[in-house]
């Protein structure tokens, strides 16, 4: 609304059409270096894709199994056979679980910061949440191993005892709980800042008129949020969640440290040795890998690259659509 104004006010500053302007060298240099930077991003992205593809080809051509549908990962020996099915499943499962845990909490924090907290507390809280994003993932991994693991064990036991009839909570409960659910909880904490930050921005952009109209109709604050803020921010929250998903998909160290890997496709969240993510597999296998194994790992990396690209593009698409119908 108001954002469409500025371009028009700049109009008079531009030279009248039809007259050639003398371009200063500084302008030219800046314009071209900016253009170069823009092009460079595309070139780098394309180069990464080409690099992954070229490096992955030797393993893909030697592969005895089906790369996309096999669950086994044995890229060494005379008959290398490997597939990413279980890895893709594990990667998506960990990321989606993290999202399911993190999104409600993030929306709550964002609403508190944007609509409930006193202004001074709100800015402090926003700052702290942003700081969470600056913590290295290894630290989250250490936190997961040394603090979270002992605390979460009894909780998992309880889940299994009282909700064990639901298949996903079936036993035996792993001890120590190095399971996909623990990894997802660590991931959830890691993606909390980005989801919160984007959601907060969206909620703050709710037109004041809408909010005041709701209040004027006699709505309580919660009803106002439900009627005005949440509908306005829905697509923003979705795109925030997608950005979080992108981060959770590529997370390596924390998962490698917290999870006991396995290559199965199932939903037993409390059992160890059932799931593995692509990023963690690469981190664990790379140091001692032979040439062919490295190539196979890069092929897995290519798949991860593709998944992350699709997720992020979907997030962008939703963001841009939101812009269209709010303006």
């Amino acid at each position: 609304m108001t954002t469409t104004q500025p371009p028009q006010t700049e109009q008079p500053a531009k030279p009248p059409p039809g007259r050639r302007t003398r371009r200063r060298p500084g302008d030219l240099v800046f314009e071209n270096s900016a253009r170069l930077s823009g092009v460079l991003i595309l070139v780098i992205l394309a180069a990464v894709a080409v690099f992954l593809l070229v490096q992955a080809l030797p393993a893909l051509s030697e592969n005895q199994g089906n790369f996309l549908t096999d669950t086994e990962w044995a890229p060494s020996g005379d008959a290398p056979s490997f597939g990413v099915a279980a890895l893709v499943f594990g990667t998506l499962l960990a990321a989606v679980l993290a999202l399911v845990i993190a999104t409600p909490v993030a929306v709550g924090i964002a609403l508190f910061i944007s609509h409930y907290a006193p202004r001074r507390l709100a800015s402090l809280l926003g700052y702290v949440v942003d700081l969470l994003a600056a913590i290295p993932s290894v630290v989250y991994g250490l936190w997961g191993i040394t603090w979270l693991m002992p605390q979460i064990g009894p909780f998992f036991e309880g889940l299994n005892r009282y909700l064990g009839f639901i298949p996903i909570f079936a036993g035996p409960v792993a001890s120590p709980p190095r399971t996909i659910l623990t990894a997802s909880i660590v991931l959830a904490v890691m993606i909390l800042p980005i989801v919160t930050a984007v959601a907060r921005e969206v909620f703050l952009k709710t037109p004041t008129m809408h909010e005041e109209a709701a209040l004027a109709l006699g709505a309580t604050r919660w009803e106002m949020i439900r009627m005005a803020v949440l509908p306005f921010g829905r697509s923003g929250v979705i795109s925030a969640a997608m950005l979080g998903l992108g981060r959770a998909l590529g997370e390596t160290m924390a998962v490698a440290m917290v999870l006991s890997p396995g290559l199965l496709i199932d939903f037993f969240l409390l059992q160890a040795g059932h799931h593995q993510t692509i990023a963690a597999l690469i981190a664990l296998q790379f140091p001692e890998a032979s040439t062919l194994q490295v190539s196979a790992l890069i092929a897995a990396g290519l798949v991860l690259f593709a998944i992350t690209l699709v997720v992020n593009m979907a997030a962008r698409y939703i963001v841009s659509r939101r812009k269209e119908f709010t303006e």
């Binding site: 792993a174 120590p176 006991s260 664990l284």
Partner: protein, 372 residues
């Protein structure tokens, strides 16, 4: 927790004390080498030049300690070690890119031929880094455990799943074994420790351990695992009823309980001497030339006092070098590695088991011909 902290502190203090005493010089400084700040052991003399070495990552810690000790004693010498992995180390050695290769495995016939050609004579394996692998467990109320090879294989293959299993009770008549599920823990990354442990299992209990020997844990077993030795230790400590395998250096540092392993009729507790003894009791590897010290680890040995689960890493060198200076440096450096001081440094820094006197004599005999 506190104990282990103190343990670590003591380890650091010990290492520091050793380093200091090394700086302080040996009791007989009267000789000619008064200029060198840290003396090499008797019979080992400095040689100038640059030695490029590379290979197994398992030796990296020990090699770093050896290099820094040797270089501080011999300011004119530079030793580089590139931890590229055993396979790459052997290839680079055969190509002539490096003069010494570290390798966890004995060269096959093809590699040996290429290496011999590179040496213009003979390339030999010297077993200078012995790293015992301990079977650790965390079981409330049980501090000592006897495990026969078949039982270890059964546990890790998830055939024996409860601590009160008769097979375990038979070897431990005095222990009160709880009715508790066994949680076996393995390495989640590819490692030489896994490869040697698995090689042991398939040698001593082929029926109970049907899986292929590889640095990767068999993926058909859904199991608990940890990244690196430290990851295995935290996982074993984090649960009750857990059992895992780990470099023996971790046992003392983390105050862990380690199992006695069945050898013949008796059960042997891990100790540096017992681990080093397997080198003496194992036969030479098949098809190696005279003077080569490559061995075929005899996991099934029934000799008394031998601890069979070890990782052995070799130094591969030529018996003669075209470049006399290079030969002299290799001789000097490797003599230091084999010396009591050198082995002690590795034991302190990397937790390896010092080689036995017999092995040392054999290594020195090989080195004698070098550099002449």
């Amino acid at each position: 927790m506190k104990l282990s902290k103190y343990g670590k502190f003591a380890g650091v203090a010990l290492a520091g004390a050793l380093a200091l005493s090394a700086c302080g010089g040996d009791p007989e400084p009267a000789g000619g080498g008064s200029a060198s700040p840290a003396a090499l052991p008797e019979g080992v003399e400095c040689a100038p030049g640059t030695l490029n070495a590379g290979g197994a990552t398992s030796q990296e810690l020990a090699m770093n300690a050896w290099r820094s000790a040797y270089q501080s004693a011999c300011p004119d010498a530079t030793v580089n070690y590139d931890p590229t992995g055993s396979g790459a180390g052997r290839t680079n050695f055969a190509d002539g890119a490096i003069a010494l290769a570290g390798s966890d495995a004995v060269m096959d016939a093809e590699e040996q031929a290429a290496a011999d050609e590179r040496c213009g004579g003979q390339a030999v394996h010297l077993p200078l880094y012995i790293s015992p692998i301990a079977v650790i467990f965390n079981l409330e109320g049980v501090d000592e455990l006897n495990l026969s090879p078949e039982v270890i294989a059964g546990i890790f293959n998830q055939e024996i799943t409860n601590w009160n299993d008769e097979a375990i009770a038979a070897d431990n008549p005095d222990a009160e074994l709880p009715d508790l599920e066994i949680t076996p823990v393995n390495r989640s990354d590819e490692s030489g420790t896994t490869e040697n442990f698995v090689a042991y299992l398939s040698a001593v209990a082929p029926d109970a351990w049907p899986h292929e020997v590889s640095g990767d844990w068999p993926s058909e077993l859904s199991s608990q695992s940890g990244q690196g030795s430290a990851g295995v230790v935290t996982t074993v400590q984090g649960g009750n009823g857990t059992i895992g395998y780990v470099d023996a250096s971790q046992v003392a540092a983390n105050d862990l309980s380690s199992a006695r392993v069945g050898v013949g009729e008796e059960f042997v507790e891990f100790s540096p001497e017992a681990a080093a003894a397997i080198v003496d009791s194992s036969p030479a590897a098949e098809g190696v030339a005279e003077g080569d010290l490559a061995i075929e680890l005899d996991y099934t040995t029934e000799e008394a006092g031998v601890y069979p689960i070890v990782l052995i890493s070799y130094e591969i060198i030529c018996t003669s070098y075209e470049n006399a200076e290079e030969g002299a440096l290799v001789q000097s450096f490797v003599s230091y590695l084999a010396s009591e001081d050198g082995q002690q440094v590795a034991a302190t820094e990397a937790g390896s088991a010092p080689i036995s006197e017999t092995t040392r004599e054999n290594v020195m005999a090989v080195l004698e011909g070098l550099g002449a």
